[in-house]
């Protein structure tokens, strides 16, 4: 009760400054939440792509069975490989012929137009791994062509990764900035209340008794900042998801982090706890002033 009253007095004394402190935490939480959402989404898509993207090695028609086995054995020696399987001309033909339209097209060819091929799946979907393997395969005797369908997706992911990096750097900058802003503003509140602090000390108040309201003040700034940071990101996601649904037809709500049970409960708690932590650290940093720097 006493602490709440003191915090209220602090708000009254430095209302505008408190708003700046809360505002900074709102921006920080929005940036951090944005970073988290982008990371989660990108990781999710990376996993999806890993399962779908594959390297296909088309082989020359005249290649012998031994040579094919030899190539497969060599591919398997790469540690980055998760699966390798051979698809013969006939298997490829039968697979495509299942589709009626494709069957019609295939009938227009004389014989089986498909070459033998090897499909490869990677453990880790990185540019280095793909380049390493394609270079090896392109130089291999009996290989007609190496196809890798994920080039465009990879470019897209590279852009996303750059965005992720920028958001992470911005996040770190905002964390430092918000801690410094909260700490400076609580310092100013301490300065504004230096006379009261002096009286508290004179009547025998302990350090904790004097400090607690200021720590609580930082915590409350953080909690309010965290809550409103979540509101901001919620509004952004709502607008974005409507736009994405309209433009590309992807419903973001199908993705777990945007579903209400995650986004409005766990994510909200996460934002508030992070905000509270920023406020708490900021207010702790300002506590040195109470030892008497101002009087």
């Amino acid at each position: 009760m006493r602490v709440i009253r003191e915090v209220f007095i602090n708000f009254k004394r430095s209302g505008f400054l408190s708003l700046i402190s809360i505002g900074t935490i709102i921006v920080t939480i929005t940036v951090l939440a944005g970073y988290y959402l982008i990371s989660e989404t990108v990781n999710h898509f990376m996993n999806e792509l890993q399962n779908k993207v594959e390297i296909v090695v088309f082989l020359n028609d005249n290649i012998s069975k031994d040579k094919i086995d030899n190539i497969i054995t060599e591919i398997k020696e790469f540690p980055e490989i998760s699966e390798v399987f051979f698809i013969s001309k006939l298997d490829a033909y039968q697979e495509f012929a299942k589709d009626k339209e494709m069957k019609q097209i295939l009938d227009s060819f004389e014989g089986n137009p498909f070459p033998d091929s090897i499909k490869i799946k990677l453990k880790d979907y990185t540019k280095q791994n793909i380049e390493k393997l394609t270079t090896f395969l392109n130089n291999k005797e009996g290989v007609l062509e190496v196809q890798y369908g994920g080039k465009d997706i990879e470019d897209f992911l590279n852009i996303i990764n750059v965005i992720k990096l920028i958001t992470a750097v911005a996040g770190v900058i905002f964390i430092i900035a918000s801690i410094l802003v909260v700490s400076s503003i609580i310092n100013l509140t301490i300065y504004a209340r230096r006379h009261d602090i002096y009286v508290f000390r004179m009547v025998g108040a302990t350090d904790l008794y004097i400090r607690l309201p200021f720590i609580m003040e930082g915590l409350i700034h953080g909690i309010i900042g965290g809550l409103f940071g979540w509101v901001v990101i919620y509004i952004i996601i709502k607008i974005l998801s409507l736009q994405i649904q309209k433009e590309i037809g992807i419903n973001l709500l199908n993705f777990y982090i945007f579903r209400p049970e995650f986004f409005t409960v766990r994510f909200l708690i996460g934002c508030i706890v992070s905000g509270a932590l920023l406020g708490f650290i900021g207010s702790l940093l300002s506590q040195g002033r109470i030892r008497g720097d101002y009087y």
Binding site: M202, V203, T206
Partner: protein, 218 residues
């Protein structure tokens, strides 16, 4: 018992606020510390409530060297002292009641007890009906009475008053001094720093006289 033994307080550039001060004050004594501005009166009080420490020398309060007190022990020590300042040092975000209750509140005293005792004191200082007022609305004399009530509320063994009548008219000044004398009659050691010679001659009692940081009479 308070003992100052060869106490020096030297600030930068060899400014001697106190220069080899030694005296003793017994329990229940009434002592005036007097002298012109800059004589060192406030410095002695600052050292006594452990706001500052001497550059050299020893200050013993009930055989404890208060210069060695740290952290929570300083808070505990200050709870045994009531202080009264020329500028009252009231909290203007709180009403009269809350200002007087402050020393009890910081030690976590029961709310019911606080209410009873504080209202008693408010009655004693003649401010009944004004307990919910902000100190801004009080006269200088009333503000100082609130400050004295706050100093006395915990029944301290020592009262330190730094120019308690400095901002008051003669009538209010005498009312304030009477309150301090009453506390002294009840057994509290009272030390008053003042340069008001009229009050000293009217009250009598022991006088410690300082000039330029040196003790010239006790």
């Amino acid at each position: 018992m308070i003992k100052f033994k060869h106490v020096y307080k030297i600030y930068e550039k060899d400014i001697r606020a106190l220069d080899d001060i030694s005296f003793e004050i017994c329990d229940g004594e009434l002592v005036f510390i007097t002298g012109p501005s800059g004589a060192g009166k406030s410095t002695i009080l600052n050292l006594l409530y452990r706001e500052d420490v001497p550059t050299m020398g020893t200050i013993l309060v009930n055989d404890t060297d208060i210069s060695h007190l740290r952290g929570g022990k300083i808070s505990k020590y200050r709870r045994s002292i009531g202080f009264v300042f020329q500028d009252f040092k009231l909290l203007f975000d709180r009403c009269v009641f809350d200002n007087i209750a402050l020393p009890l509140e910081v030690v976590g005293t029961n709310r019911q007890y606080i209410k009873r005792v504080v209202l008693e004191y408010i009655k004693k200082i003649g401010l009944s009906g004004k307990e919910k007022l902000n100190p801004w609305h009080l006269s200088g004399g009333e503000k100082q009475k609130v400050a004295i009530a706050r100093a006395l509320i915990t029944s301290p063994s020592l009262i330190l008053a730094d120019e308690p009548t400095g901002n008051l008219d003669d009538f209010s000044a005498w009312e304030v001094i009477t309150m301090l004398l009453d506390a002294n009659k009840a057994g509290t050691t009272v030390i008053i720093a003042t340069h008001n010679k009229e009050i000293i001659s009217r009250v009598g009692g022991r006088v410690i006289k300082l000039d330029k940081g040196r003790l010239i009479h006790q």
